[in-house]
């Protein structure tokens, strides 16, 4: 058994007992690929167990697998056709061993999915189909096996083909072929079946040769995640594997999320004829830089144009293999490229039934389920959406020492935060004011600050803000309300409603509010500000005087109020990305004050805020002028 050059990796998947291992055994036998003596050895194993000849014993190498007649772990075996070499990856079909199926299938270029003609489409037939899609395996041929057990019935085959094609279509998968076979009898494996003369399509062997060799998609921007930094001798070598794109000596690299720049001085290599001047996707390389900048494992190098997204929050479609349920609030270590970072499950958005593709609003994800979740990382990460760059748009979660799930990233509704954090110029010094904060405080009788209102549309932010402003003014406070009306027209007139523009809108509001507060005033802001990262940035800008005030009301209440008729329009699909309906609202984790407008009147709400302000910002008691 030997392989000449390139091998295509093909996973054999499908429900337990639908004949995957048998197919592999038959394929090897019919192509003369069995090692000498293997057939006799399998015969002897079966004889010892007093059972008929079992092809599955070719790959079921574990004693437990042979004794129980079930494939436990994935295995690989090599063979070749006239066209090329193959690595056949046998994946277990039992639900218990889904993690082993994932291990096998994720390594493949293409898959052969088996369905039992007699039993029909079963749970794992669908789940495996779904997982192939999620794992990024795009080429699938479906073989309907055990046709001998249904008397090679053409209609039976047609029914299964029709039903499973419908399922795959909903996933966006088009199978390359649908083949009726009998692995045990050898029908349509290496030779066309005489018993199924009605079938004109390719055999399994021909279908394998029809699969395309997967090459890296051309033209993806450079992604070079830093794996390690070595200093074995005088060179400081940054090591890693190029995931996408091309890197050349002389390139200016941007390292994210640290946002440092460095120019490639050399590509280092040992025992080569000449030092390389460029490297491409898939190569494990080492580079040196012209400048000695701080770079560490987990950073992602790119060119300045088309850098990765920076975010600490993102959506993921995830398959879960962990023994313990994944729930909202659970913490895990995420491995994303070479970065390892703590993450928390901010929300479980939907759990997907891989049987009929329906979704349920559950709060937990059990083992072997697929779900859509929102993850928040402890620190800013460099990442990509899976659809734009598959190798850098996926991650695994580690729970209790083991990889317990994998997911693909979507940034739908979330902003790239790169420009929001990278904008600070380092060479600007603050002018020292002659008037100190204390001077202002003693004249005003209160400290400056930011009262940052956040909540759903219709929760009452503007109503409460305007009433609080009036009350505080009457109490002698210097105060001013910022809301959408007075910033969107002027200051932020250049911004639209894309996720990035919305984030920039909030960033500017945060900066202006901070300036007003440093002028000694109390600035009240009334913006939905649905994203925690945006509010955290506003807090950073606002400093000590910042107060996050959660104007709380449940979605149903807000939708009932609907003062501007926006919910109605959003439900009708007229407003895209509407918070609470088609975009997330991330409630504050630890707000300074919660005002529940579902239970409080406006007057009561105002009173609570004013009490809070008096206790936190007042220097001396103000006369009540009302």
């Amino acid at each position: 058994m030997s392989v000449a050059e390139e091998s295509l990796k093909v996973a054999i998947v499908g429900h337990v007992d639908h004949g995957k291992s048998t197919l592999v055994g038959r394929l090897f036998h019919d192509t003369g690929s069995l090692p000498e003596g293997k057939f006799e050895a399998i015969q002897a194993m079966c004889k010892r167990r007093g059972m008929p000849f079992e092809w599955a014993f070719l790959m079921d190498a574990l004693q437990a697998e042979r004794d129980q007649g079930v494939t436990i772990d994935t295995s690989q075996i090599w063979f070749r056709t006239a066209k090329r070499g193959y690595v056949i990856i046998d994946a277990p079909g039992h639900k218990e061993f889904l993690k082993n199926m994932v291990t096998g299938a994720a390594a493949s270029d293409a898959a052969l999915l088996l369905i039992d003609a007699e039993e029909g489409i079963k749970e794992q037939s669908r789940r495996h189909g779904y997982l192939l899609h999620l794992l990024g395996v795009r080429q699938v041929t479906v073989a309907v096996n055990k046709m001998d057990l249904v008397a090679y019935d053409r209609d039976r085959f047609a029914t299964i083909e029709r039903d499973y094609r419908v399922y795959l279509r909903e996933l966006g998968v088009t199978p390359t072929h649908f083949i009726p076979i009998s692995a045990r009898e050898g029908d349509n494996i290496a030779r066309p079946s005489e018993a199924m003369a009605w079938y004109q399509g390719p055999t399994v062997l021909q279908a394998l040769d029809d699969f395309q060799v997967i090459t890296q998609p051309d033209g993806l921007p450079l992604r070079f995640p830093v794996q390690d930094v070595y200093r074995f001798d005088e060179r400081r070598i940054i090591a890693g594997r190029i995931e996408t794109g091309i890197l050349q000596v002389g390139d200016q690299l941007l390292f994210s999320p640290a946002n440092r720049m460095g120019k490639v001085k050399s590509i280092e290599a040992w025992s080569v004829a000449a030092p390389p001047i460029q490297a491409c996707a898939g190569e494990s390389i080492g580079i040196t830089l012209e400048e000695q900048i701080f770079v560490e494992r987990g950073d992602v190098a790119s060119h300045e144009v088309n850098p990765p997204i920076e975010s600490d929050v993102f959506l993921a479609r995830l398959f879960w293999l962990g023994d313990r349920d994944l729930t909202m609030g659970s913490r895990y270590t995420m491995k994303l490229n070479t970065a390892e970072v703590g993450v928390v499950v901010q929300s479980v958005d939907r759990v997907i039934d891989t049987g009929d593709l329906s979704t349920k609003g559950e709060v937990k994800v059990a083992r072997n389920q697929v779900a859509e979740i929102t993850l928040r990382a402890d620190t800013m990460q460099a990442l990509d959406a899976f659809t734009s760059s598959p190798p850098t748009g996926r991650f695994v979660l580690v729970d209790n020492y083991n990889i317990a799930g994998g997911g693909i990233i979507s940034m739908e509704g979330y902003a790239d935060q790169r420009n929001l954090v990278a904008r600070q110029s380092s060479n600007i010094q603050r002018v020292e004011h002659d008037v100190t904060a204390e001077n202002r405080e003693s004249r005003n009788g209160h400290r400056g600050g930011v009262l940052w209102f956040t909540g759903l549309s219709g929760a009452g932010k503007s109503t409460v803000a305007v009433a609080v402003e009036r009350r505080l003014f009457n109490l002698g406070y210097q105060t001013y309300v910022l809301d959408g009306d007075n910033v969107r027209h002027g200051l932020n007139g250049d911004l639209g409603f894309s996720p990035e523009d919305r984030a920039e809108n909030i960033r500017r509001v945060g900066e202006v509010a901070a300036l007003i507060s440093r002028a000694g005033m109390l600035c009240i802001t009334a913006f939905i500000s649905p994203y925690r990262s945006d509010r955290d940035r506003a807090r950073l800008a606002g400093g000590d005087g910042f107060a996050e005030i959660f104007i709380k009301a449940d979605l149903a209440t807000c939708e009932r109020r609907d003062p501007k008729g926006l919910y109605k329009k959003a439900r009708a699909g007229d407003i895209p990305d509407f918070t609470g309906i088609s975009a997330p609202y991330e409630a504050p984790g630890a707000p300074d004050l919660v005002i529940d407008t579902a239970t409080l009147t406006v007057e009561e709400a105002v009173e609570r805020v004013v009490e809070y302000v008096q206790s936190r910002f007042a220097i001396y008691a103000k006369p009540v002028s009302e």
Partner: protein, 264 residues
């Protein structure tokens, strides 16, 4: 990138991943063809350096050519070299067939070396195409406190992400050559001009296809006297690589038992 470049890059990535994540590492260097490719790949990964010890578990029963090869390249490549000794066969599991029992000495020698130095991870040059239970291995494969392999409950491994954290008392076997085949090893050895023990080349119509202890390893019929001739031979043969390794064939589960107990 051609086929060998792809294999090489994957192995280098695994070496670097282990070196970054695992504190105390060592490499098993059996002196055979796979081991020598593995050592070569490590030096590629670390730009000419081998930043951990190379360990040879010496059963005392190796071929003289192997000892000569070892002595020469330990010096020539400036290796941090460790040699481990093995207990006598009388101390091994009596229920194992004779050749497997002899091979089990190597496992015992390895365990002693691991305990003495407190290694948390060792590189072993096994390949999936060698044998059925190796075909089910992981790149990063945890071993229990006593070196045992939980073959029925292995961690998942996908998308180039590996399990690199483990409960105390566990150690890791790291397999940088898992995805290589026998013919890949020879093609790469030829391309990179990697030194090889002459026992692999035919003399008087026989050559060794796989090297182990002299008492339980047998040569095959062959006229292949050069690496290109070996490659040509492998393209047509249907004889399995380890057919000359006695311990693989004594009983249906002999090799699985050896491996779950800690054999490579």
């Amino acid at each position: 990138m051609n086929h060998l470049d792809v294999l090489e890059s994957e192995s280098i990535y695994i070496f670097r991943e282990a070196f970054s994540r695992i504190d105390k590492l060592a490499m098993l260097w059996s002196l055979g063809k796979d081991s020598n490719v593995m050592l070569w790949l490590a030096r590629k990964a670390f730009f000419g350096h081998l930043p951990f010890p190379a360990m040879h578990i010496d059963t005392g029963n190796k071929f003289p050519e192997m000892y000569a090869f070892r002595d020469r390249y330990v010096t020539e490549w400036g290796l941090n070299f460790l040699s481990g000794t093995c207990p006598p066969v009388a101390e091994m599991d009596e229920t194992l067939p004779p050749a497997a029992r002899s091979a089990a000495r190597k496992t015992a020698g390895l365990k002693t070396l691991l305990e003495t130095h407190g290694f948390e991870g060792i590189f072993a040059g096994i390949r999936r195409d060698e044998e059925g239970t190796r075909a089910k291995e992981r790149y990063f494969s945890p071993r229990g406190a006593r070196g045992t392999w939980e073959i029925k409950d292995q961690p998942p491994e996908f998308w180039g992400q590996f399990n690199t954290t483990f409960p105390p008392g566990t150690h890791l076997r790291i397999h940088p050559l898992l995805h290589w085949t026998e013919i890949d090893i020879w093609r790469y050895t030829l391309r990179e001009n990697i030194p090889t023990i002459p026992l692999y080349f035919a003399r008087d119509g026989k050559r060794y296809r796989s090297l182990g202890d002299a008492d339980i390893t047998f040569p095959i019929d062959s006229t292949a006297g050069t690496i290109p001739e070996i490659i040509a031979e492998l393209q047509t043969t249907r004889i399995s690589e380890r057919s000359g390794r006695a311990m693989d064939h004594e009983a249906e589960d002999a090799f699985e038992r050896l491996r779950t107990a800690g054999y490579m």
